[in-house]
């Protein structure tokens, strides 16, 4: 028993100073952009977003939802001049 306790004490100490490790995960996001309609270089939706969760996808040059921080307010959808955006309810609320 005491051996276990010693080990646990050492690990508990180590756990407080060991540094950090990370992982990543996918998110289903509410803002869906139709890349065939989205105008490259337009940025209207990106500027409309009150929480700045949209950005240009560097790979495609089109807008996309980069951060999982949407208020489902529809500003991007309403302001898009090409009707390229559809906002769904975030899955957690759907």
């Amino acid at each position: 028993m005491s051996e276990l306790r010693d080990r646990e004490q050492a690990k508990a100490l180590q756990a407080r100073s060991v540094g950090a490790a990370q992982t990543t995960r996918r998110f289903d996001v509410p803002v869906v952009v139709d890349a065939s309609k989205c105008i490259t270089g337009c940025r209207v939706c990106i500027e409309s977003c009150p929480v700045d969760c949209l950005a240009v996808d560097v790979a495609t040059g089109k807008a996309h939802m980069r951060h999982d921080e949407c208020w489902y307010c529809l500003a991007c959808e309403i302001d898009c001049p090409k009707d390229a955006i559809t906002v769904k309810m975030p899955f957690l609320l759907r």
Partner: protein, 591 residues
């Protein structure tokens, strides 16, 4: 200017800086610039003014319009004194009420569309317990666009996507703002003769029941920035223990909305289909009855519209699905529900701080002045109870006028070495998380703090839980030094975590201090369940002490300018429909 000596620091000097371009800030900037045609008025906005603030997508009505022929300023002052259990600065309420109609007329001239009767009169509705103050704006989706157009016409200098993090001080006078560009991370310093804070509510305080961090009642950009900015500049805050809690569509977490549907015949019912409150106006007392019903054997609670005619429902949808929170329609459709066939299930929101709906905010007088020289505040973050949208506009204008009168007598702030020290300290504080790209991610930190808020601060409150909260929030302050950011966007979220934690500590300390219950659910203490006017007919204020600790103090309630009788003052305590009254009403309906 190269006062700081760092290439990432930009310094500008203006006459007035308005922080936050929502309803209050836009109005403050417009009126300041109009009165100062050659002056430099800068509007600083963390988002983009075309879609920012609480009414990013417009508003479906004015909830507190004081219109001649429908209400008098004195009646309004009485109503809000009752709704806020007597703890008000009536002079501040009166200043709003007396300027309410003039601002409404100004909006009318600007092209904001209000509902009018066939004779051209404003079509005022009754939603409050006593008087008539609600003016529908069925086409209110244009409001923010109209304000933005006026800002451009006035020639205001707008800086978007910069978030303020601290105010710049010269001794005990505020002389500017320090912040950073949330796109490129550059530090921005704005020297100004006067600063008007219009940063909105502390809306990311409690965690919505859905668990979605950004599924808040308030626009989640309103993270309590202004509360924290004012606090660290030494300003007093007041009524923080009088939380904002709202009745909302369950899971969607937006208003259902009884203010819009009430005049059409919609109302709140319990699961048995019975009405249980006399008034759907959002007061703490209404929320307490709502909370009790929700958690009783007759819960949950619903908004009932299924008895209304199809054309009435269409009219309601035209408002609710196009303005304020237009995604309501798609939420219901996604669950294959409709107003015609289904009751709208409701619950209560997470807690927040917001004087627009309750009374928690920065202490201001009837001139919009805070307790710090050179600092003004308006809108949801400034304590003028139940001030709503029109109150934000009126006080935006008042702050602009007062700030201009103040700066006429002030020498412009001259940059001094001690300012450079403040700027450098803030630069290091703000940029620190970028040196920890593998630090704790902001969303994990935020989830934890806001979950603590739900566990320990959400009413019903108790002294034991509040004390525990303080311990955990102290720990959370230490943990902020572990939170990291990889880019300026994430840095914005990290600095918002600072605001959120500050607001949580204010909420805990103010709630612990007031050892009575008041404002219905907003400050319901299980260990002190009674309202105690002998001891607690005071404002509870807090401020940062010289030693940097959170200091609580009391201010007397100023003598009323519109007197109320003791019985009258308690009228909001009688909102529950008694079972007897209900059975009599039901009998009457059958006869």
């Amino acid at each position: 200017m190269t006062l700081s000596g760092h290439s990432d620091v930009t310094i500008v000097q203006v006459d007035v800086v308005v922080v936050g371009g929502g309803s209050a800030g836009s109005t403050a900037a417009i009126f300041a610039q109009q009165a100062l045609p050659r002056g430099r008025v800068l509007l600083l906005e963390k988002a983009n003014i075309k879609r920012s603030g609480a009414i990013a997508i417009g508003m479906d009505g004015l909830n507190n319009a004081v219109i001649p022929g429908h209400a008098t300023p004195e009646q309004y002052v009485k109503e809000i004194t009752m709704a806020n259990d007597g703890i008000v600065n009536q002079r501040a309420l009166l200043a709003y009420a007396e300027n309410s109609f003039a601002m409404l007329q100004e909006l009318d001239r600007w092209g904001v569309k209000f509902q009018k009767t066939e004779t051209g009169d404003f079509d005022v509705k009754k939603v409050h317990h006593n008087g008539n103050y609600v003016l529908p704006m069925p086409e209110g989706y244009d409001l923010k666009r109209i304000l933005t157009r006026r800002i451009k016409q006035a020639g205001v200098k707008v800086v978007n996507r910069v978030m303020a993090t601290r105010l710049l001080l010269d001794g005990e006078r505020v002389i500017g703002v320090i912040g950073f560009d949330t796109r490129d991370g550059g530090i921005q310093v704005i020297y100004a003769n006067a600063v008007i804070l219009c940063c909105g509510a502390s809306g990311r305080l409690g965690l919505p029941a859905s668990g979605y961090l950004y599924g808040t009642y308030e626009n989640p950009a309103n993270a309590g920035d202004g509360y924290s900015l004012a606090y660290h500049a030494g300003a007093e805050l007041t009524g923080i223990e009088c939380f904002q809690i709202n009745p909302l569509i369950k899971d969607y977490n937006g208003p259902a909305c009884a203010y819009v549907t009430g005049p059409f015949g919609g109302h709140t019912v319990n699961a048995r289909g019975h009405r249980f409150i006399e008034s759907d106006y959002w007061s703490g007392h209404m929320m307490l009855e709502f909370y009790r019903e929700l958690h009783s054997e007759n819960g949950p609670v619903f908004l009932k519209l299924d008895h209304l005619a199809p054309e009435t429902l269409l009219e309601i949808e035209r408002v609710l699905h196009r303005t304020e929170r237009p995604s309501r329609g798609r939420f219901h459709a996604g669950r294959a529900q409709s107003y015609a066939t289904d009751l709208v299930e409701m619950h209560i929101s997470e807690i927040g701080l917001c004087s627009g709906h309750s009374a928690s905010g920065v202490w201001v007088n009837e001139r919009g002045e805070t307790t710090v020289r050179g600092l003004y505040a308006a809108g949801d973050m400034a304590c003028v109870p139940h001030n709503y949208l029109l109150g934000a506009l009126v006080y935006g204008r008042i702050c602009a006028e007062q700030a201009l009168a103040y700066l006429a007598d002030q020498p412009p702030p001259a940059p001094r070495p001690e300012h450079a020290e403040q700027i450098e300290a803030e630069r290091l504080r703000v940029l620190a998380p970028l040196s920890r790209p593998n630090g704790i991610p902001h969303h994990q930190y935020e989830y934890k703090v806001r979950r603590l808020v739900n566990d320990y601060l959400q009413p019903p409150k108790s002294g034991y839980r509040l004390e525990l909260a303080l311990g955990y929030l102290e720990r959370a302050e230490q943990e902020l030094t572990e939170v990291g950011a990889e880019n300026p966007h994430d840095l914005m979220r990290v600095m918002e975590c600072h605001f959120i934690r500050d607001c949580a500590e204010m909420a805990a300390r103010a709630s612990l201090y007031r050892t009575e219950s008041r404002w219905g659910l907003y400050h319901y203490r299980q260990d002190y369940p009674e309202l105690d006017d002998d001891r607690w007919r005071v404002h509870v204020n807090l401020k940062k002490s010289a030693q940097g600790a959170m200091h609580l103090l009391e201010r007397p309630v100023a003598p009323y300018v519109v007197p109320l009788g003791a019985e009258e003052l308690r009228s909001y305590h009688r909102l529950r429909i008694s079972p007897e009254a209900r059975s009599i009403a039901a009998l009457g309906a059958r006869v």
